[in-house]
Symmetry: none
Subunit: 250 residues, 2 copies
């Protein structure tokens, strides 16, 4: 029995994250954490400036198992061995005349496909070279501000990993909702509305010229509020207490 899988096989086990020429070991650690928190686990490093490194381990903050299992390569080609489709990330919206996909589009395709893929991230300052991008069949561009495009490497990985997790989850059966405190039923809401109006009348609150308007507004409010059964009961109890207090005074 594998202990770190969530439901049988690792859900995103076919996705490999490849970092090329990373300068700051902190970014490698933060990338491992960004991956693990979204359920990714396969990290490949191509010619990192420093690795292993205490700074990477510190920033991994519990994802050091991913660092320990990371594959370190000299050339990009080695990191892509056995991979069916290679996605390269780029700060440009178009690579030559080849439009880039959004992380969301890419994640949808990757989750649906299930074939081994690599997502390749370039150097902190200069990204991937043209030669490296040429090795990719697809490009991913993460949209940014037009005036400040400096997205941190691990943040770029985080966004892609997040989209992969959502795309994977979208294909899974929706979580069963626990029914401990169910929403108020229609009849309950109607009872609450009638009771509220009765008390409003008893305390002399409403414009007798426009009873219809107040009634409709109350109905809209209760319908929209998404009251739970327990909340409807609290409000009914409150209304009953008001009536009781008034009858005591009479």
């Amino acid at each position: 029995m594998s202990s770190n899988t969530e439901s049988g096989a690792a859900p995103l086990g076919h996705v490999r994250i490849v970092l090329v020429g990373t300068t700051h070991p902190g970014n490698i650690g933060a990338t491992a954490r960004a991956m693990k928190v979204m359920g990714l686990s396969a990290l490949h490093l191509v010619a990192p400036a420093r690795f292993p490194c205490a700074e990477a381990t510190a920033r991994a903050a519990g994802a050091d198992d991913i660092l320990a299992r990371a594959n370190v390569h000299t050339h990009l080609e080695e990191a892509l061995s056995g991979v069916r489709t290679v996605y390269g990330t780029t700060a440009r919206e178009r690579h030559i005349d080849w439009p880039a996909q959004s992380p969301r589009e890419a994640a949808a395709a990757i989750a649906a496909d299930g074939e081994d893929v690599a997502i390749v991230f370039g150097r902190e300052r200069s990204g991937l070279t043209n030669e490296e991008l040429d090795r990719c069949q697809r490009a991913i561009h993460i949209p940014t501000s037009a005036t400040f495009r400096s997205l941190n490497l691990a943040q770029a990985v985080q966004i892609c990993a997040y989209e992969l997790r959502l795309a994977h989850a979208a294909g899974a059966p929706a979580a069963v909702r626990e029914g401990r405190d169910p929403p108020a039923a229609a009849a309950e809401l109607e009872g609450l509305r009638a009771h509220t109006l009765a008390v409003m009348e008893a305390v002399g609150y409403y414009d007798p010229a426009q009873p219809k308007l107040l009634e409709r507004r109350l109905q809209r409010l209760f319908n929209r509020a998404g009251l739970l059964h327990s909340e409807s009961q609290i409000l009914r109890g409150f209304l009953a207490a008001i009536e009781q207090r008034m009858s005591r005074d009479d």
Copy 2:
């Protein structure tokens, strides 16, 4: 002419990022960068452990203008001044029995709305306290692996900022909001809650052994209900009428 806007008014200028009790200044800097790269600019810090700090500036990597303009507060309440809707981020999918929104759902609502909002992020280790979450009308939960939920603070901000940017881009000609009946402001909701409790006490409705529970349930109900300004006024009028009726009897 403003120089840091992209097309006239800042597109996400109504969104305030609030960090509560941040321990590591590096996370404050990384948050500033995460914001700026997606076009956000308003950063509020509540009781940061260290700020300003060279480590924050280093990690901001060019987003130091956001740090320079950051507002530092002693209490959360100050950071929310003037805000219409407060979103709190939580590692739990449900806050008691109140379902959290995904970053995507929240971003869509925020982009379409255009009212001033705050998104509040808690401490690195412990998140937001229950009292702080109670101050929020909506909760945001970022989906993570079930077995490793340790999402870095700046990464959480990055994901939300990314979704806001996409939602803003998608909603370009955002639905024009009829300004006739705006949502109730946070201060209005707080006034309504206090008034309701006062009347509940006056009519002898609540379990004196569990005042806290009722208080929190009411706050949650009002937060979730999405009350309009006019509805808040109706309910306040109703409460005042009850009080008047009781004073007449005394």
